[in-house]
């Protein structure tokens, strides 16, 4: 539960969203990711740590380098977060519709 909350905190930050976009096309090292930002390297590292803890990013050891890549499964869960809100309203409106149909004719 807390983990999922963290996911939303993770994507609320614009820098972290930018990082996710960067690694969406290819796996990158921390250095290559940091090169895209004006912020200090430790700040980028902190962002990477948060994204990894939330399982939005996966680490992969390749020789001496660690590559970061997107975890598509986790991203899909987030994309669906609107769906429960829609279903809530859909259920309410379905009820409204069935109740009001009795008043018809």
């Amino acid at each position: 539960m807390n983990l999922r909350r963290d996911v939303f905190q993770a994507i609320a930050d614009p820098t972290r969203r930018a990082i996710l976009l960067l690694v969406a096309s290819q796996a990158l090292t921390a250095g290559a990711i940091a090169a895209n930002f004006d912020t200090a390297r430790p700040t980028v590292s902190k962002h990477l740590q948060i994204l990894t803890e939330c399982e939005l990013l996966k680490q992969e050891q390749n020789g001496r380098e660690i590559y970061y890549q997107l975890n598509p499964q986790k991203m899909k869960e987030i994309a669906d977060f609107l769906e429960p809100f829609r279903q809530l309203w859909d259920a309410r409106f379905n009820k409204l519709e069935s109740i009001m149909k009795k008043y018809k004719k």
């Binding site: 539960m1 977060f81 809100f85 829609r86 109740i99 009001m100």
Partner: protein
């Protein structure tokens, strides 16, 4: 199949739109919002007050299965039968700030109608929090169900 209820929420905006097409004539759709007894049925809430007029107000109260009561209230800014309701909505005793709702009712055919709900929140972050409530509750419920099952296994 096309969905009857649609949510339009753009990234980083403090508003969202809910649209729904009903298999009901316009007057019956509006009646479902106007008549306190009917509101109670489809919203699953108790209607303590519902003043259908410009500058009126309303108050709802729901009770969960544990007997906890939750209050909701708002002010009706404008009330035009079969056309629109402009009102505020607030969940009492929560950190969530009041929201502004523009409800527009229109006839599509003699037998069908559409409701467009334009909801404006105080901030984009606040909108996102409210949007995620059912998602979070769903996870909570799944978690509780899991706990129930685990307890039974013990």
């Amino acid at each position: 199949m096309e969905q009857k209820t649609k949510i339009h929420a753009e990234d980083g905006k403090q508003e969202l739109t809910i649209t729904r097409v009903f298999d009901l004539p316009l007057d019956l759709l509006f009646k479902a919002y106007e008549d306190a007894e009917i509101v109670e049925q489809w919203m699953g809430t108790k209607v303590l007050k519902l003043e259908n007029k410009s500058h009126g107000s309303y108050r709802f109260e729901t009770t969960d299965h544990k007997g906890n009561k939750y209050g909701f209230n708002g002010t009706i800014h404008e009330f035009v039968p079969n056309r629109k309701i402009i009102r505020t909505f607030e969940m009492e005793n929560t950190p969530y700030s009041v929201q502004l709702e523009f409800l527009e009712f229109e006839a599509l055919t003699e037998e069908t109608s559409q409701l467009t709900m334009h909801v404006v929140y105080r901030t984009a972050a606040h909108r996102d929090q409210v949007l995620k409530l059912p998602f979070a509750q769903g996870i909570n419920m799944a978690h509780n169900r899991l706990q129930d099952i685990v307890h039974k296994l013990k």
